[in-house]
Amino acid sequence: MPTSSGSIAGPVQALINEFSKLPTIGPKTAARLVFYLLNRPRNEAQSLAEAILAVKDRVRLCSICFSITEEDPCAICSDERRDARTLCVVAEAKDIFALERTSAYKGRYHVLGGVISPMDGIGPAQLRVKELVDRIGSEHPHEIVIATNPNAEGEATALYLSRLITPLGVSVTRLAYGLPIGGDLDYADEVTLAKAIEGRRAL
């Protein structure tokens, strides 16, 4: 199927092009979204447009944890009931949303702003590593939980931080690898299974 067509109205093609720039959205999905919106009332399109602009205009970074927030400090940092003795280090603010959905974690967060990857020009200096060390000095947490992704960059970042922080007298932990709940044991790949065996615990 040809990818471009001269017969589609200019604004329609323009919006397809904009949607196609978004992650995980290809030209076909973009076209589906545009034709869906065409069939919706104007006020729906308006609130979508406003929500997009509001994200850019009203959202900023929390000056303590560097998560995204409308109020500074963010809701988590200003919540007195959160345990200030535990600090969870994540790569991106979106990881906080994933962890918060679980309601399993009661401590606070620190957003690095990425992971160490020299091939992408990102070293410790490009991340909020110094800010993390400063927070450890002023907030005196007992435990740092490193929750970077279990891929090559996430692992290297976790190792780097652990070597940096451990000498400061803080205990450093790493999220455990596990099997997906509800997944079949025989369907898990060998590597995940091996990691899960390494990280097994008593029942």
Binding site: T3, S20, G123, P124
Partner: protein, 366 residues
């Protein structure tokens, strides 16, 4: 292993193809550029998940289309398995997706369900060519066989790229970070070296036997693993120790030359005849015979280690060989379960083959 059906859609010059290959020998005969190699490339892709011809995966998609799909059903020891691979062109590059029994899976899970030994004309340069060709020969054989090998290889290559970037950078490399990448290289690299050492020993033994049978034992073929980090005994501790020591010894030099100098990414394999390197001293005929023996050995070792015969794919190599060598090769492989061979002419002496003709992407029983 047996491939019972193959379905192609918008792959290379094939619009649609449904093929039911026979057990045993399948011979595809046709003029050049009709789609013979494309067919073998598709079958190989179901085994390795990669093309044996190109790293430009967009080329796998038929001109003017966005998605190529390759699927097939195979009978393996564990039962029947359906394999699928789609290649999609997107504005951000080419994306490949894999499926096993209709379920989307990651590459590591897809790899090795179907095993293939391919033999293409470029392989004839395996002895005289650059070391990279011999390393990728080992990698391809080992990755199909052991999932952990592929995992360690990917881990090694990622750490190596990060370390190179760190060494090439403008600033003095962060010593802690360099140490972390070096530890990963030692961990993953040790596994690669162990696996390579083992498979080269097996290949050497098997190839020597085949070769002796062909040459009447006049010359002795030996295949030696030449690791960049030499080690005394093939044991984890010994290799990791030697690797770490060499990294320490060359640390200064790596920084000064701003490049990685130590590790299995600089390994090689040496093929020798009576103790003399074939690459340096062998005639072209001797080199070719050694490659044939190595390919037969690859097939036998895969069969021996897994207990299952891999598919044998020969793309246009018979015409590169004189009839004597071609016959010797096929009888060397012996009782294969299923083989796919392409040729421009019907070769002599291939009995019991199912012959197909290929013309302009049409495949018909001949």
């Amino acid at each position: 292993m047996l491939l019972s059906t193959l379905h192609l859609s918008n792959m290379r010059n094939y619009a649609q193809l449904e093929l039911e290959p026979a057990a045993g020998l399948n011979l595809f005969v046709g003029r050049n550029a009709q789609g013979k190699s494309n067919l073998l490339e598709a079958i190989s892709l179901l085994g390795t998940g990669k093309s044996f011809r190109t790293s430009r995966e967009k080329d796998l998609i038929r001109d003017g289309f966005e998605i190529a799909s390759i699927s097939g059903e195979a009978h393996v020891r564990a039962g029947t398995v359906r394999l699928g691979c789609t290649v999609t062109a997107t504005p951000r590059g080419t994306r490949k997706m894999y499926a096993v029994n209709g379920r989307g899976v990651r590459y590591a899970k897809f790899l090795g369900s179907l095993r293939v030994v391919t033999f293409v004309p470029a392989d004839l340069q395996l002895v005289s060519g650059a070391p990279a060709g011999r390393r990728s020969f080992l990698n391809s054989a080992l990755a199909q066989e052991q999932k952990t090998y592929y995992h360690e290889l990917a881990r090694y290559q990622k750490a190596l790229m990060q370390k190179s970037a760190l060494l090439r950078g403008d600033a003095e490399p962060d010593a802690d970070l360099l140490a972390i990448y070096n530890e990963t290289l030692v961990e993953a690299g040790t596994e690669l070296m162990l696996a390579r050492d083992q498979i080269v020993r097996a290949l050497s033994e098997s190839a020597a036997m085949v070769h002796a049978g062909w040459t009447g034992g006049a010359e002795r073929l030996q295949i030696a693993y030449v690791p960049n980090v030499p080690f005394e005994v093939p044991a984890q501790d010994a290799i990791a120790g030697a690797f770490a020591a060499k990294l320490r010894a060359l640390a200064q030099q790596e920084r000064a030359r701003r490049t990685t100098l130590v590790g299995p990414h600089r390994d090689d394999v040496d093929l020798q005849l009576d103790g003399h390197s074939l690459a340096a001293y062998g005639s072209q005929g001797q080199q070719r015979t050694a490659v044939l023996a190595l390919k037969v050995a690859e097939y036998s070792v895969m069969l021996e280690r897994s207990g299952e015969a891999p598919l044998l794919l020969l793309d246009d190599v018979l015409s590169e060989l004189d009839p004597g060598r071609a016959q010797a090769f096929l009888s060397g492989v012996g009782g294969f379960e299923q083989a796919f061979i392409t040729a421009t002419h019907l070769p002599e002496g291939l009995s019991q083959a199912r012959v197909w003709s290929i013309d302009a992407a049409q495949v018909r029983p001949a």
